[in-house]
């Protein structure tokens, strides 16, 4: 199904950010790892250029590099996931 891989990768990035926010205390995640997970999403060709999904992912990447709180990054990634869902239901 189109968009499935993208949804999985975005969810992986969200899980990483939530692990930082929730502090399970069983892993040591760096912003670089989170940024890599978001870049993995952006590399997918199924995420169209100029789409809202790409826009939100870009914002999330900026938020990570700017040192924004984990909840802010998570919120932006949820927005990307929502936009992906909208684009899938609209296509």
């Amino acid at each position: 199904m189109p968009g499935r891989a993208a949804a999985e990768r975005i969810r992986k990035a969200i899980a990483l950010v939530n692990a930082v926010a929730d502090g399970a205390g069983d892993e040591d995640l760096t912003p670089t790892e989170i940024a890599e997970a978001i870049r993995d999403c952006l590399e997918l060709s199924e995420i169209e250029q100029g789409s809202n999904v790409r826009k939100y992912l870009g914002e999330a990447l900026d938020a990570v590099s700017d040192g924004m709180p984990a909840d802010f990054v998570a919120m932006t990634l949820y927005a990307a996931l929502g936009a992906l869902g909208e684009s899938r239901s609209g296509s």
Partner: protein, 215 residues
């Protein structure tokens, strides 16, 4: 608060015994393991008192932050067109906002995804009102609390099995707050410990015999 002691050969049996005595269902209680041996498990089961939480309009005045968070969540739900009661959980640290009402499954979402998103938005909107590292927890119909109880029970069951067999057990993939609940449940166990393996979102807790400390 109503509570009862339950005894049984297994954790499930002990909890069930206490639930029968209380006339309550599992979702309405908090379980604390008093003692555990191969032959008998003793638990204390306490009924969660929903009535002590303040209702809309009568929120706890002692905590301004909690009230701000409550009214913020209430406003978000209103914009989403969700009719629900929003309350501040009393004596909860960190601040916990409870949402209750009918048909709120959509607000929880797949594996709690929508609930988690709502919590992220709430924390971002509260922003500077929260101290560094301080966060607000949002719970719908005590979903999160019930999940924590469930994984704690899973952890204790796994620990018992590890003690009997000596073999480590790998649990299903869990979210960070669930893994945290397991680590906390087993942290004082002298014989069994927990660690995590794998990468998000497939990170799993391994419950195994605690290795003797090397000096």
């Amino acid at each position: 608060m109503k509570s009862a002691e339950g005894r049984g050969r297994t954790l499930d049996e002990a909890v069930d015994a206490a639930l029968i005595e209380l006339g309550e269902s599992r979702r309405n209680v908090d379980v604390r393991v008093m003692s555990e041996s191969p032959g008998e498990t003793v638990v204390e089961v306490t009924v969660i008192d929903h009535s002590v939480a303040p209702v809309i309009g009568t929120a706890a005045p002692a905590n301004g932050k909690a009230e701000t968070a409550r009214s913020l969540v209430e406003g978000l739900l209103k914009h989403m067109g969700v009719r629900a009661q929003v309350t501040v959980r009393t004596a909860a640290d960190p601040i916990t906002i409870d949402i209750s009402g009918r048909d709120l499954g959509a607000l929880i979402g797949w594996r709690g995804e929508t609930l988690r998103a709502l919590q992220s938005v709430t924390n971002v909107m509260l922003g500077k009102q929260l101290a560094e590292g301080e966060r607000v927890i949002v719970d719908v119909e005590r979903y999160r609390q019930r999940r924590e109880h469930t994984v704690r029970e899973i952890a204790l069951r796994a620990a018992r099995q590890v003690k009997m067999t000596g073999d480590a057990i790998t649990l299903d993939a869990m979210q960070a707050f669930e893994r945290r609940a397991i680590h906390l449940a087993l942290q004082d166990d002298p014989d069994v410990g927990s660690s995590s393996i794998g990468e998000e979102p497939d990170r799993r807790v391994v419950v195994g015999p605690r290795k003797p400390e090397t000096s």
